[in-house]
Subunit: 200 residues, 2 copies
Amino acid sequence: MRLQVNDGDVDDDLVPPPNFSSVEDGIFRSGFPQPSNFPFLKNLNLRSIIYLCPEPYPEENLEFLRANNIKLFQFKIEGTKEPFVSIPKDAILDALKILIDVRNHPILIHCKRGKHRTGSLVGCLRKFQNWCLTSVFEEYQRYAGVKSRATDLQFIEAFNIEPLRQCVYSIIYQYQGYSSNKRRLLYREEKLQKPQTTPV
Amino acid sequence: MRLQVNDGDVDDDLVPPPNFSSVEDGIFRSGFPQPSNFPFLKNLNLRSIIYLCPEPYPEENLEFLRANNIKLFQFKIEGTKEPFVSIPKDAILDALKILIDVRNHPILIHCKRGKHRTGSLVGCLRKFQNWCLTSVFEEYQRYAGVKSRATDLQFIEAFNIEPLRQCVYSIIYQYQGYSSNKRRLLYREEKLQKPQTTPV
């Protein structure tokens, strides 16, 4: 059964981190995990964690990562209150590249509260998935609640996902061995030819 | 890539149903899907839908289900405001049996707003997964917002998941061919012996 169930004693309740949720198959989000959340996280069989704060990771959390062979990707994004600091686009783009790479799944995204930095990253992921902006914002607000920030929503709206698409296409072409000058053309052809049967 | 991406034109934004979210791998929740949400739902490759309202399913939704070979499980739970109607335990138990059966996945749970009936069913699923009650309630409230109902939380807290566990154990024993009088004993032994290598 793929459903995550407690593999320990049935009397031990599992404690997910605050603001925890599933985002997609193999992608989770939350606030900062405490040691009380480790048994729960262990059951997710995580392969990696994306951590979006500049503060160093606590030693006991690092210990948990080592013991469970979980890779840590840290992107040092300041969490200072608006309107003084803006989210760095490059860090979000780099985090997205890690996030959409299924070789890093199952993966947990977290910052401190799982609201602003995590919400902004997930919002950009949804844009990449072509969600309409209304639904992206609805999801952001569900986790941010009364702490919702207009600057985060503006960041998500303005974020350009084209570089990420190009990056994904590059990986596809790399695997298929196309020369770089044919990239764009071949991609379009591929899409058109997909449903047809083509002679070899 | 397991990540759900738009397989149509990149310019067509996908519109998830209201209050949509992933619950677990292969399990989703939302409010009532409208035709504008069908392209999004199509991309989820749903195998089934759990619908928790007594009203008949609209013809255009049935049409969408037929076209995409999606099975509908309807549980007629009244949505009248508290404190007049209580959620029927049997319906929730039956819905849980459908929900945890991976042969029905990917599966979408929905009612009208994705708040009370859907939230109660997901809350009971979380109890089955041994989540602590605080986290179960946090999740319920994230979707219900200001419409959160104390009666739903009480229902979740009081809901007895033992019959569901027994049901799951029965399925396990059925597959393994144990006779019914050995059930409890063998289950315990099994758990203890799991990490050992036993000679055949």
